[in-house]
């Protein structure tokens, strides 16, 4: 359960978020969307404990964010990062195992339980076939699944994802969202995902948060927020909404030269 009460955030001389309030009940899936620079990543960093709100407070499973330290927060929340290749080429297995870092034994080695969780996470995300390959030797889409596997191995009730599907092709996007939904229903994960893929996210999420700049955010069940007029207001472009093959979609409409 994530509770966000009147959270504001500003960098020196620049307001990013103003008075954001919403809840994500346990086991729900929240999609966060909005134009570039509207504070989506800032919000995820606030929820992940990486930034402190300028005002307001965040409560995770009944305890204020400030009452957690890095270790205890890492047992509540896992973050799936955007794609990156580190300076040193770890293997896929090593990378997934890093999700277990704060559970390692006194000498810094994994226990049998850590190993089981890592193998299960690798099976779930279908990365076990290339467990011994290096992060430099696999595709961006495969790496994205590796980072998801690492977050799964962390074995937390909450997962935050920052644009997890931005580098994936159509097929892998759909499979990624399928996987998220499976985790949500089978393991009861609470999921918060930033996405630019409104149409796909709308098919999977329970709730949607549109960030349109300070003081202009909309939150609610996806059926209420995923509406043409709200999306137009948030992104400042014209869209048309319709139902195609039983699925609600919005399409941006370009401005034709006259």
């Amino acid at each position: 359960m994530i509770e966000v009460h009147g959270v504001s955030f500003h960098y020196p001389g620049q307001e990013v978020l103003r008075q954001i309030t919403f809840n994500v009940p346990a086991g729900r899936f929240l999609a966060v969307a909005g134009p570039n620079g509207s504070g989506k990543t800032t919000l995820v960093r606030l929820l992940g404990g990486l930034l402190k709100p300028s005002a307001g407070r965040i409560v995770i499973d009944g305890a204020a964010m400030g009452s957690y330290n890095a270790r205890t927060l890492a047992q509540k929340i896992a973050v799936v990062r955007q794609d990156m290749i580190p300076s040193f080429a770890y293997t896929v297995y090593e990378t997934v195992m890093m999700g277990r870092t704060c559970h390692f034994g006194p000498l810094g080695f994994e226990t049998e339980q850590d190993r089981q969780l890592v193998l299960a996470a690798m099976r779930e995300t279908e990365v076990e076939a290339f467990g011994s390959r290096r992060l430099t030797q696999i595709s961006g889409g495969e790496r994205q699944r590796v980072y998801l596997a690492r977050a799964l191995a962390q074995d937390t009730p909450i997962m935050l994802l920052d644009e997890p599907t931005s580098f994936l092709d159509l097929r892998h996007r759909v499979r990624f969202f399928d996987l998220l939904r499976r985790l949500q229903s089978a393991q009861g994960k609470t999921i918060v995902a930033i996405t630019h893929d409104l149409n796909l996210a709308a098919q999977y999420c329970d709730e949607m948060l549109l960030l349109g700049g300070p003081g202009r955010s909309e939150h609610g069940p996806v059926g209420e927020v995923f509406r043409a007029e709200r999306i137009e207001a948030c992104f400042g472009v014209k869209v048309i909404q319709g139902r195609l093959g039983g699925v609600d979609v919005v399409l941006p409409v370009g401005t034709k030269p006259s």
């Binding site: 960093r45 992940g48 404990g49 990486l50 330290n69 890095a70 270790r71 927060l73 890492a74 047992q75 929340i77 896992a78 973050v79 990062r81 990156m84 290749i85 580190p86 300076s87 040193f88 080429a89 770890y90 293997t91 297995y93 090593e94 195992m97 890093m98 999700g99 870092t101 704060c102 390692f104 000498l107 810094g108 080695f109 994994e110 190993r115 011994s132 290096r134 992060l135 430099t136 030797q137 690492r150 962390q154």
Partner: protein, 350 residues
């Protein structure tokens, strides 16, 4: 190397590497310009009045030097691996935060300023070592303070602070050298090139103290291995998997700087080891810091012992500066490793 690292596998590999190191120590004690007979060495020091020369050469001259080379090689290799991890920069080496110029300035001052000789730690280490050590630590403190003030402690501001302080102190050293007299000039330049042939003069207690600090430091850095692994993915990422990033960063930086300062204050500026040994170990054994740090320490020790043995025998009775040998022997060796192991492995981009 696709087998996952376990405590047992690591213990076996560390034991094997210790075996290699011991063999290297023994072999290099027996190699030198003066041939010695193993049987006579084992016979002991001999009666008073007629000392056993073979024993004296191996135990009083060669062994201290080999031990010091091992301690310095271990310190520089462990510290190099840690600096590369903390700065997320494969080009980092133990001197990148200005330790070299700080220690060099300390040594130059000790050589050139009259009356400083009295500052030595009586009977354990000389004034050059003391001042080089103080200069090294003071410089790292200054650089991290500047990095923190100027850039909130990010790696780029730390690197920049290191480069700037390094350049400034190097200029001061050059200034001192340009006004120095003949003997002082020679001593300073010699110190800056890196050397291990003063080992016998340092005495067993000083080398033992250095070994103690370096081995203890290596153990602390090994314990930080899992955190250093995660730090390769960035500070925020490490924090979200539960690492207390600030504490780890501070401890690792402090300990790596301490062992580097110890090494530099005894040996001067021995280059190449701290940059290349970690890369060589990474190529062969992979980047996991729980294995990288102990193995880099052991192979760094073995490597510098071998390099120093070359330095003292190839142009005998003269000697080469060991820093020249590390680069001339180590460079081609590293290229062979690169060609052998680097297929399909890239360092990747930050």
């Amino acid at each position: 190397m696709s087998r996952p690292l376990t405590g047992r596998l690591l213990a076996a590999q560390v034991a094997a590497s210790v075996g290699v190191l011991v063999a290297v120590v023994l072999a290099c004690c027996l190699v030198g310009t003066q041939p010695v007979d193993i049987g006579r060495v084992l016979a002991g020091p001999g009666p008073a009045g007629s000392p056993n020369l073979d024993y004296e050469i191996v135990v009083r001259i060669r062994l201290p030097r080999v031990m010091l080379a091992g301690v310095v090689g271990m310190a520089l290799s462990c510290a190099g691996a840690v600096f590369q991890a903390l700065l997320r920069n494969p080009l980092a080496d133990p001197y990148i935060l200005g330790i070299s110029s700080g220690a060099g300035l300390g040594a130059a001052v000790a050589v050139m300023v009259p009356g400083i000789a009295a500052w030595s730690l009586e009977g354990v280490v000389g004034p050059v070592t003391c001042l080089a050590f103080a200069g090294a630590l003071a410089t790292v403190g200054l650089v991290s303070a500047i990095g923190r003030v100027a850039g909130g402690g990010g790696t780029t501001s730390l690197l920049l602070a290191g480069v700037v302080v390094n350049a400034f102190l190097s200029a001061v050293i050059l200034f001192l050298i340009s006004v120095a007299g003949g003997h002082q000039l020679q001593t300073t330049i010699f110190w800056l090139m890196g050397h291990l042939n003063t080992a016998a003069l340092q005495g067993g207690r000083a080398i033992g103290l250095a070994a103690l600090i370096v081995v203890a430091g290596a153990v602390v850095l090994f314990r930080l291995g899992p955190a250093l692994n995660v730090l390769s993915f960035g500070h925020s990422d490490a924090q979200t998997v539960g690492v207390h990033v600030k504490a780890v960063h501070r401890t690792a930086l402090g300990v790596a700087s301490l062992v580097t300062a110890v090494a530099v204050s005894f040996s001067g500026l021995v280059g190449f080891v701290g940059l290349v040994v970690p890369h060589a170990v990474r190529l062969v054994f992979g980047p996991d810091h729980r294995r990288l740090i102990p193995l880099a320490g052991l192979y760094g020790a073995a490597f510098l012992i071998v390099a120093d043995t070359f330095a003292r025998v190839v142009v005998a009775p003269a000697e080469l500066p060991v820093g020249v040998v590390t680069a001339m022997v180590g460079g081609p060796f590293f290229l062979v490793l690169l060609a052998r192991y680097a297929r399909g492995r890239r360092w990747g981009q930050g």
